[in-house]
Every structure is written in C-alpha cells, then in structure tokens.
C-alpha cells in the first residue's frame, strides 16, 4: 500500500484520490485535523453532578481525567434541564477550576492592616477557641423570671443556601447544641 500512503501525503495526489477537484476538502486536511476529537472522549470518568447556581437544579456531568476536571456540561438525562445550562451553569468549569480560587487560609489579627497566611489546622484551633471563649462569656442560662434560655446571643451565623443539605444539617445540629440561636441564611433575604 505504499502508493496509497504516498497519495495521502502529497496534497495534489490526495485531490485526485479523494475526488476533491478544488482542493478545499479532505485532501487539504492536516494530520491534526485528521486526528481531531472531543477532549472529553479521553475522560477517565464522568461524574454525575448538579449545577451550584440557582434553585432550578440542572443536571451536570463532570468529565475527569487524571484527577483534573476536563469539562462540565449539562446532563441530557435530567428531566429538569435535558442537557441545558444557562450562562452561569455553562461557566461552571471556570468557577471550579479558575485562578481566583484561594487555596490557603487567610488570617487578619485585630487591628491588622494586611492578611497573613496561616495553616488550616491552626486556624481551626483558633476558631474553636474563640467559639468557646465567646460562648462561655455570653451564656444565658435562664431568664430572670426563671424560665430557661440556655443559649448565647454572642455568636451568629449567616449562610446555607449554597450549601449541601448534609452541611446545613451538621451546622444546625452543632450550633443549636452550642446554644446558638442567631442562625440565618439567604432564605431570609
């Protein structure tokens, strides 16, 4: 098949073998063009997901290769979205892989003028200590009339509408058990 290979390499010959008289079609294809394919075809896994923006709940498919996200697209199977995404949903890949995402904990001491990076574990310890201190200092066991309060008004929370149900559940369970009542989220807004 030496002739065939030769014919594939030389454009003019290709024009003849491909019946492409004007040389505007296949005979002009480069090797890159011949090998072109969708990058998602090489994904290791396709992971079922849900769009993180609004409350419609469109289905997403996350294409993963070598532990990295290749692409995020709508899921045709979803009876809600049938493969569609809006501009925000279509930008999800940029949301989750973008350079804007910070990867370190930032800390600003009281009266500080700049951020400092601190280790995650240390930050968690500091927050736990702050919670304990504030809780202990602001605890209200009972009302002066004698009925129970068992709470702190010293700590508050805002957020939850972008969180998972499981996250909200643990937050509510922990906060309530700590005696926090000022727990609120975007649903109030």
């Amino acid at each position: 098949m030496a002739d065939k290979r030769l014919a594939e390499r030389i454009p003019l010959l290709r024009q003849f073998t491909n019946l492409d008289a004007l040389g505007l079609g296949e005979s002009a294809w480069s090797r890159h063009t011949e090998n072109l394919s969708a990058r998602t075809a090489g994904a290791d896994r396709v992971v079922g997901s849900i769009c993180p923006y609004c409350g419609v709940g469109c289905g997403q498919e996350v294409f993963v290769k070598d532990g990295k996200i290749l692409d995020i697209e709508g899921d045709y199977a979803s009876p809600i979205s049938r493969g569609c995404l809006c501009p925000k949903g279509a930008a999800t890949t940029q949301l989750v892989t973008g350079t804007h995402r910070l990867q370190k904990v930032l800390y600003r001491p009281p009266y500080g003028k700049e951020w400092e990076e601190i280790p995650l574990e240390r930050a968690m310890d500091l927050v736990a200590a702050r919670v304990k201190k504030t809780r202990d200092e602001t605890w209200e066991e009972e009302h002066q009339k004698g009925h129970p309060l068992r709470r702190t008004l010293g700590i508050a929370h805002l957020g939850g509408a972008t969180l998972d149900n499981e996250e909200n559940y643990l937050l509510k369970k922990l906060y309530t058990s700590m005696g926090m009542v000022q727990v609120e989220n975007q649903a109030r807004i």
């Binding site: 454009p11 505007l24 079609g25 294809w29 072109l36 709508g74 809006c86 925000k88 930008a91 890949t93």
Partner: protein
Amino acid sequence: MAATGFFTDTSVCIGCKACEVACKQWNQLPADGNFFSGRSYDNTLHLESTTWRHVAFVEQNRNLSGQTTAQPFSWLFLSDVCKHCRRAGCLEACPTGAIVRTEFESVYVQPDVCNGCGYCVVACPFGVINRRNDDGRAWKCTLCYDRQRQGMEPACAKTCPTDSIFFGPVDELRNRAEARLAELHRQGRQEAWLYGMTAEEQPGTEGLHAFFLLLHAPEAYNLPPSPVVPTKTIGTSWLAMGLAAAGMVAVTVAAVRHGGERT
C-alpha cells in the same frame, strides 16, 4: 456524510447568552474584557476571533404580532454564528489550504496550517472570521468539529435552554424550519421569515448551513440583506477584466494611431 448545521429560531431565543459561554468554555476561548457598551444588554457587540457565538439585542418601538404590551415595544434576540456557507468566501480565499470543508460540510480553519495572512477576513460577507491579536491566526466557529467527530452536538446547541439553537442534518433542519415558519404564520405572526436557508433565497452564498428564523429585517440584527461571497463573482470579474484589458488595448491602439496622425 450528511451536511450538518444550525437552525437558529429567534422567536424562542431569550437572550440568555448561554451559547456564548458554552462556546467559550468548550473551545477554551479567552474573554474579550470588560466593556460596557450601553447598547441594550449586548456588551460583546459582534462575532470575533475569540467570540464565536454572539447574541444581538434589538429594542424596537413596535409589537410583534400577538404580543400585548402597554406601549408598542418588543425586544428581539439573535444568537449569531458563522454561517458555514455552501459557497464559503473564506474557504475559497485561503491561499494556504488552511480552511477546509469537513466531512460534515462545515467550514473549518486548521490552526496548524493557518499562517495568518488574513485573505479570508475580507472574503467573508458576514464579517465572521477574524485574526486573533495574540497569535495572528484566523479563528471562527468550527461547528464543534471535534465534538461532531465523537457524535456530540455543538456546545451552544446543547446548552441552549429554549432550543433556539437547533443542530442537526441540514435537510432535517430545513424541514423543521419550514414547519416552524408555517406554525408561526398560522398563528398570524407574519413577520417571521427564514434567512439564508436556500440558494434561491440567498444566491450570493448558495445558502447557509447555519440559517435563521428572523422576526425583522436582517439589518436590524446586523446581518447583510443580500450577502455575496466575493469569489462568487470571480467569473464576471475575469470577464470584466478581460473586457477592460481589451478596451485598454483598443484605446492604446487608437491613441497610437491618432497620435501618429498628429505627428
């Protein structure tokens, strides 16, 4: 293989621009920067080498048929894209063979071949194709050639929430478009019409593989009313050139003769 393309039905477009983003996402195109245009909700303004889908916003002081508003007003949207002309000016103008016709009959710029000469830019009657400032090469919609190779539909058509952008074999798209047009006309929406679907309707391109259902004149959407691919006129150009040359010869001969008489 059957030719594939887009039927873009502007009567159901909601101007959400999901197509613009899905296109940039799939093709990994950079944003063009933050520019507030003050032109309705259109801030990307036109197709570019890095913007292969563009939604036009047309505000007008008249109602569409069947539409009730307090004052006469309507807001039209159109998601514009490369038309993948059956007679493609860019393709015929390309001197390097970078622009090719694919097995899907779409028009594709091969980035590894393009040398950025720019002949294609002036050859497009729609102003679709352009060169990127950063790498100098010409870029435009590929009709998601890479996706089609895997049997996937283009990213814009997939993401479009209202099926304003419909992808498929061009023959089927024509049937769909005609049925949709008939339905709209049946509803009394006489302003609806098909732009560029056939060679008869648009001889200058011999018909588009990405054609549109419009609710207004093409100029309203910044589309040319009767686009003509420059190479389409190449025969008449040669003829005109021949005639011109012959004329010049005649004039020269006459001049020489006349001059001879004078001297």
